[in-house]
Symmetry: D3
Subunit: 256 residues, 6 copies
Amino acid sequence: MRFETENSYEVQDKIRQFRAAILPIGAVEAHGPHLPLGTDNLLAERLAGRLAERTTSFVLPTLPYGQVWSLRNFPGSINVSNEALIRMLTDIGESLYQQGFRIFAIVNGHLGNAVALKEAARVLYERVPELKVYYFFYPGTKEVTNEVRETASAHGTYMHADEIETSYMLYLAGEYVDMSKAINGAPVMTAEADCTPTPWEEMTSSAVLGDATLATREKGEKIIERSLDVMADMLNRAKERLAVEEEADSGSKKQQ
Amino acid sequence: MRFETENSYEVQDKIRQFRAAILPIGAVEAHGPHLPLGTDNLLAERLAGRLAERTTSFVLPTLPYGQVWSLRNFPGSINVSNEALIRMLTDIGESLYQQGFRIFAIVNGHLGNAVALKEAARVLYERVPELKVYYFFYPGTKEVTNEVRETASAHGTYMHADEIETSYMLYLAGEYVDMSKAINGAPVMTAEADCTPTPWEEMTSSAVLGDATLATREKGEKIIERSLDVMADMLNRAKERLAVEEEADSGSKKQQ
Amino acid sequence: MRFETENSYEVQDKIRQFRAAILPIGAVEAHGPHLPLGTDNLLAERLAGRLAERTTSFVLPTLPYGQVWSLRNFPGSINVSNEALIRMLTDIGESLYQQGFRIFAIVNGHLGNAVALKEAARVLYERVPELKVYYFFYPGTKEVTNEVRETASAHGTYMHADEIETSYMLYLAGEYVDMSKAINGAPVMTAEADCTPTPWEEMTSSAVLGDATLATREKGEKIIERSLDVMADMLNRAKERLAVEEEADSGSKKQQ
Amino acid sequence: MRFETENSYEVQDKIRQFRAAILPIGAVEAHGPHLPLGTDNLLAERLAGRLAERTTSFVLPTLPYGQVWSLRNFPGSINVSNEALIRMLTDIGESLYQQGFRIFAIVNGHLGNAVALKEAARVLYERVPELKVYYFFYPGTKEVTNEVRETASAHGTYMHADEIETSYMLYLAGEYVDMSKAINGAPVMTAEADCTPTPWEEMTSSAVLGDATLATREKGEKIIERSLDVMADMLNRAKERLAVEEEADSGSKKQQ
Amino acid sequence: MRFETENSYEVQDKIRQFRAAILPIGAVEAHGPHLPLGTDNLLAERLAGRLAERTTSFVLPTLPYGQVWSLRNFPGSINVSNEALIRMLTDIGESLYQQGFRIFAIVNGHLGNAVALKEAARVLYERVPELKVYYFFYPGTKEVTNEVRETASAHGTYMHADEIETSYMLYLAGEYVDMSKAINGAPVMTAEADCTPTPWEEMTSSAVLGDATLATREKGEKIIERSLDVMADMLNRAKERLAVEEEADSGSKKQQ
Amino acid sequence: MRFETENSYEVQDKIRQFRAAILPIGAVEAHGPHLPLGTDNLLAERLAGRLAERTTSFVLPTLPYGQVWSLRNFPGSINVSNEALIRMLTDIGESLYQQGFRIFAIVNGHLGNAVALKEAARVLYERVPELKVYYFFYPGTKEVTNEVRETASAHGTYMHADEIETSYMLYLAGEYVDMSKAINGAPVMTAEADCTPTPWEEMTSSAVLGDATLATREKGEKIIERSLDVMADMLNRAKERLAVEEEADSGSKKQQ
């Protein structure tokens, strides 16, 4: 399923058969003492790998740099702009379309990329309307997350190096987690942070937005598997629609 | 040495100590029947790893998309624009500087990226003049390559999936090479190709620009090791200059 | 408090005294049969007017065009790009700073503008760090909204021409509402809509995302007043911090 | 005629019938002691309203920010760039075309916007050639202005807060004029000002480029009405041409 | 005075002495049957040469491409965008400043370039405020032109291949004029042409906007010499101001 | 053959006949004590003139500003950006296509322009695929240069004010060369210069990259004539292909 290890003599037939390419995108970003800087890349990559298996799709090489404005001043964070991401993603999308792909699913491991992903998808919607673009950030997990979590979320939208994300890592990339260093971050989140640019050093010194010590592999498994179900379902249905359309096209051509 | 596996609590001290970050950059591109689409990424990544060891530097995660205009119509190629690359690389460079790095070495596995790399380095030269930026595409190997090669180069500048690049792969990533499929590409290269935009499908159907069957691990080793010597030497000297300057700075501060 | 009706001979002293400029921004967009196309402009403008009174700030003329990608194909919608908004807002922000303002609060009546506003605020954060930029989209109203609403929200984030927004209009601009035409929109919202570009004509023909017939002036009043409290509190505290800083500055200058 | 107060259920038919949208654009800019900062917005808005009545067209909400480079350092001026204006105007124009408009008339109250308007109109001329774009800055008034004015113009092209513009305001928005504060500006205009960037503080401290005390409602009426005649004539003729073309189209379709 | 023929060993001293660089800019554009396509380049170049002599300044090589939107569909016209011109001119200006120039005078032979020139001058005003930028399009000639012309101007602003411009050519580059082919263009200029994008093929088939047969060398001489006086006066006074400032600087440095 | 001296009444027929436009592009750049700043412009212009004669093509006016990053700090150099060049060249190319040209040959006298030229050619390849674009920097001269040169090249790619370029000048523009001032530059070229941004003041104080004293008119003639053969051959063959295609088109139209 890894696109990178294919060769150009055999790949064309497989593209015609698979139709779908999955791009993992993450970031290099501070994730506290117990998680590596590449956490979001690892999560995106492994999630993408499992999604590819369930949908017979290609996994593209991981785009490992993301927009980490909020944490850019923390040690180890590497920040790239929305503009760089949008341009890179639209270029990749157009190229995938030229190669014969008709579904481009971006599995995102870092919330800060969401704006760029949505914008890139809209640009591609205009330029190559026949390419169906998905941007996934753990879709369909709101309910199950509320079920499994033992502590309230520190913020309505953000999740970072906390009980939840650490659980993801324990399930998908446990060998990179050092639970002995896990802490309870207890950030100070003000209402202002949603209304004015607020670097996270103003609300946390650890970059851990919650209680990472409560993370478990099982919690991660429950949420991740739910999300995989949701994503696989979307992609498989998109593939079915595509097959129907192509059969219809081919039928109408035969009639002519 | 892998930056991605560091954590944010410990990385700051190491950045101050290492001062140098190495970014592998390659491409996803047709490389004939015997080499994978990700050849340039594999070469860049492994070369960067060895260079990091010899220079006590960090290796950043590989940027796996490159400008492959010439081969973009070959099966499996994914092409991104110079603009996307330049913006991404200048963003990364500025961020590295903010993080405390003073040397940013880009190990390039794909010649098509050379223009974007040089331009990005010049932009950074203006914006963060204290960051020393290197862009490496097998520097210092002209002579040794001429020594080891058994066939003339198909082109003065290009090298692609041929005796030489295949030898690199045999040395650095042999497990991805299938020599049983290697062919003699024998491209038809006209003088016009250097003077007008020329997609490579006009000169080759295999994307193999030479005789890949002559590739050996030994040839690869000779050239790659020479190049590693040259790159390591440049980086180590840059680090020494940096140390001298910093000592001087610190001395002059003490005097004040 | 209206900036536009001031004259240039007297405005400078008032700027020094007020320090804060409030910009209403909305959109021209389909809002069903019972609300006018300019709903978001009316809401933003009147909310801004009240906020200005509570905080002794200037209200700037309304920027009446917004990003309405999702509804752009509905009759009457006028869509402008994020790029246009970001450039316009950063230009205005820089100019306000040159004029002596130190607080720039953007009161947003249209969720689709949120991305552009956040991005513009971040750009200004770099360029004119002494200008405090706020972007407000009914902050602090989650709880009170859940209290007053009689029907569940059609979507976790969106609110459009429904029970809630119609209630806002009844409170702030009732003369523009025709409740006799209000309908229950009952949109079909799929999980996919959050994961792939989805023009709203795929989920509604009315553009009413809920039951507008349940809207009342009282519901609007409760939520709007709560939001006004929250916004006024943030601005007033920002002004106090500014006063303290300036006194400190002035004190330190006197000492010199 | 106000587009903003229409609703999306009824607007489509009216767009098909009216075909023309009028956008007032002005600026927030110093206009001396007797005129408000929003003078150009008021003029554009009211002129547009009258033009809409004479031509059965829609008036869009006023775009109230303009390029005021020359006066940007005067108290109260808010300056936006040509780039911001061009992008905003081309976005609006493309959207109007999608909505079914075929005539887009921009009524401009501020000369500094002229460059951006002309450029935006040329961009739209390429992108949506079937949209007829007009940019009006008091067209057809040269002669009548020379007749009514009692003092020579301070400059061949500029007119600002002087006898003429103040007369416009007395006619169109007299309630915002304080003639008791009107002054004779007597600017020092050098030949150099037309050949090198020259902020107006180098030639005037009042921003009044002439003798505002001579302004009268009657002078304003004469010029404004002449201009309205000229503009209405152009729009009405454009509408007639459109009707003829559409009838021809419809005729040729019937024949087919 | 030609900068291009200087060598790098001797030019630095002269730059310090001259301080002023003059850039001729024109266009390649249809000019009727009697004038060459390069008319505007010839006029700009020769005017610049005379101005350089009168002011002891350098003449830079001519930038021979301009914005000819209005005539771009006429045979022989080559049109470049305002964006290209602005970027090119600001780059040149910044480079001249780095080289030690403090006055940058652009002698423009083509009215269509005026917008780009003014914008470029404003950009440079921000970036290199110590560089004084002039943009000249026959300044100071309104009165003398009215005196010498025998026919009314076809348009308030435009002048093209007519009595006046042909007279310029007869004076400055007579060897390129073929008066035997001169015609009376008699364009049909409507009021609309100033209010909506109007390619000139809608008003003329010859591109001659007036009666070229009335052109004489004497008329050209009178206007051109007046303009030269005006330009030389501005540049010489700018040089004097510069000398005074530098002496003041040098004086204040000595005192320190 | 000079396009600039044509008039618009006669040029159209010639464009249809010639089909090819040649644009000389150079730079204003330090070339040591014996060569003028405009060396690259002179070479490009005269080379283009001879090429036009051999191919019955038009020569456009010279674009005399180039990207001289490496030498921008040397006295007399004027540097423009790749962006400015790319935009200018693509604008010119599109305009030439509109005028009826089908071959656009750029004769480049300055290596620093090569990146912009290649990029511009690729942009035009997408936008106006029927326009064949050539970028020439002394093509086909590698062998003959090695034959005639008496000293080794200072660098694999660069050639600047040395034995070779000075010989070009002696052959094409000898009146601008002062051999009495020619020197042996003997630059210090390190391997690093190819791997990191390196202004040339770090390797030479003269800008002469070799031994200019060995230059002769004969050496220049040999290389230049070889290059002219190669370029003329490419253009003439392109014209022949064009003629064949057009005849085929015309034939197929007749058949219809």
